[in-house]
């Protein structure tokens, strides 16, 4: 059975190869996406994340706590390439509203890089998150992966399942076929349990007064990342991990550096450069 709907600013597809109670489980998985969007979106004023950004401190629910915890662990693991404190840099770049409302045709003022890397304190025992003055979080780079993993947990208990949230894909229960776009066309990966995510500057981009901008902020400059990569597809155990790794490798900047890092860390990746080269690395074959 298949169920498609919109949430988190993108198209979601759920596949479940199981007859009994499939409808109920698909509905529960869809509800999980909507529930998490209501908690984790920076664009909804009533979300927990918006309240945290507004007040600087919050006693958070378990989901916001878990995602912020994962984001901080990712910041540490990637030496700051992945950073949830890019909120103000994204806003300065013009991504200050849900993406479909961002004007595509220009008019966004000249960009000034915003500082990233501010302090975030997490007290797990008290479920309290505290931001340093002036720090705000964007969880767009990780919340979707978290939601995909949660939905797969619901569906996977009943049988083979696939969850696709705008290209962040997680599968379980049987070999699933997932397409990857390259400059030479699309090829297919076979994956039984795990996830695939792609990060790049080929989508979620818009025009500013000083040229094209995109949503992948380099925390070291506070501006949209530059380099020779068009997009990176990474395979990992969970969608959350795949999202983080794809972004971190994209920020490596050039094809050879990203491939070397993927090989060293054993992360299967597909790298596509702006000039049309495609490289497989990290054990992808």
């Amino acid at each position: 059975m298949r169920h498609a709907f919109r949430a988190m600013g993108t198209e979601i597809q759920l596949h479940l190869r199981s007859k009994p109670a499939a409808g109920k489980l698909l509905a529960a998985a869809a509800n999980e996406f909507h529930r998490l969007e209501a908690l984790l979106s920076r664009f909804l004023p009533s979300s927990e994340l918006a309240r945290l950004n507004r007040d600087g401190e919050l006693v958070a629910g378990p989901d916001l706590l878990a995602v912020v915890d994962a984001a901080l662990a990712a910041r540490e693991l990637t030496a700051g390439r992945f950073d949830p404190t890019v909120h103000d840099a994204l806003v300065a770049a013009g991504y200050d509203r849900s993406f479909e409302l961002v004007p595509a045709g220009g008019g966004v003022p000249v960009l000034v890089g915003s500082a990233c890397g501010g302090g975030v304190e997490l007290d797990r025992a008290a479920a309290r998150i505290r931001l340093d003055p002036g720090v705000r979080l964007d969880l767009g780079g990780i919340a979707k992966g978290y939601a995909v993993d949660r939905a797969l947990g619901i569906l996977g208990s009943a049988g083979p399942a696939l969850v696709d949230a705008g290209g962040d894909i997680a599968v379980t229960g049987m070999p699933w076929h997932v397409g990857v776009d390259t400059s030479d066309g699309t090829f297919t990966l076979e994956l039984s349990d795990g996830a695939v995510a792609t990060s790049g500057r080929d989508r979620r981009r818009w025009a500013g007064d000083d040229g094209e901008r995109h949503h992948l902020i380099d925390p070291s400059t506070g501006r949209p990342a530059e380099g020779e990569l068009l997009r990176v597809t990474a395979v990992a155990a969970t969608a959350l991990d795949a999202e983080v790794l794809a972004k971190a490798l994209f920020l490596a900047g050039d094809l050879e550096a990203a491939a070397a890092e993927a090989d060293a860390l054993g992360i299967p990746v597909v790298l596509v450069s702006l000039d049309g080269r495609t490289v497989l690395a990290g054990g992808m074959s």
């Binding site: 705008g166 076929h177 776009d181 039984s192 349990d193 995510a197 155990a237």
Partner: protein
């Protein structure tokens, strides 16, 4: 006789003066005369140092927890994946 009494009075007054001067010095009136602004600044510096020390201890505990967690949980291995010739059910793209 009159001169002897006068000398006694003079001696008694000298001893009294000495005690008064001693008490005055022992009270350290110059310590109390410290400007209140300087004292307040010292208090603020001490409070800031105490807060900084508290933060350092908190950061140290956090680092220990992270290191302990990292030691306990090695990163999960990447799942097995291979390229096949088949039509995809879904296609990954920049999300």
């Amino acid at each position: 006789m009159t001169s002897h009494v006068a000398r006694l009075y003079a001696l008694a007054l000298s001893i009294l003066g000495l005690f008064v001067a001693w008490a005055g010095i022992a009270a350290q009136p110059w310590g109390a005369a410290e400007p209140p602004a300087v004292s307040a600044a010292h208090d603020q510096t001490a409070a800031a140092l105490a807060e900084y020390g508290k933060r350092l201890r908190r950061d140290a505990r956090l680092v220990h927890r992270i290191l302990a967690r990292r030691a306990e949980q090695p990163p999960p291995a990447a799942p097995a994946v291979r390229i096949v010739t088949a039509a995809p059910v879904a296609t990954t793209r920049t999300s």
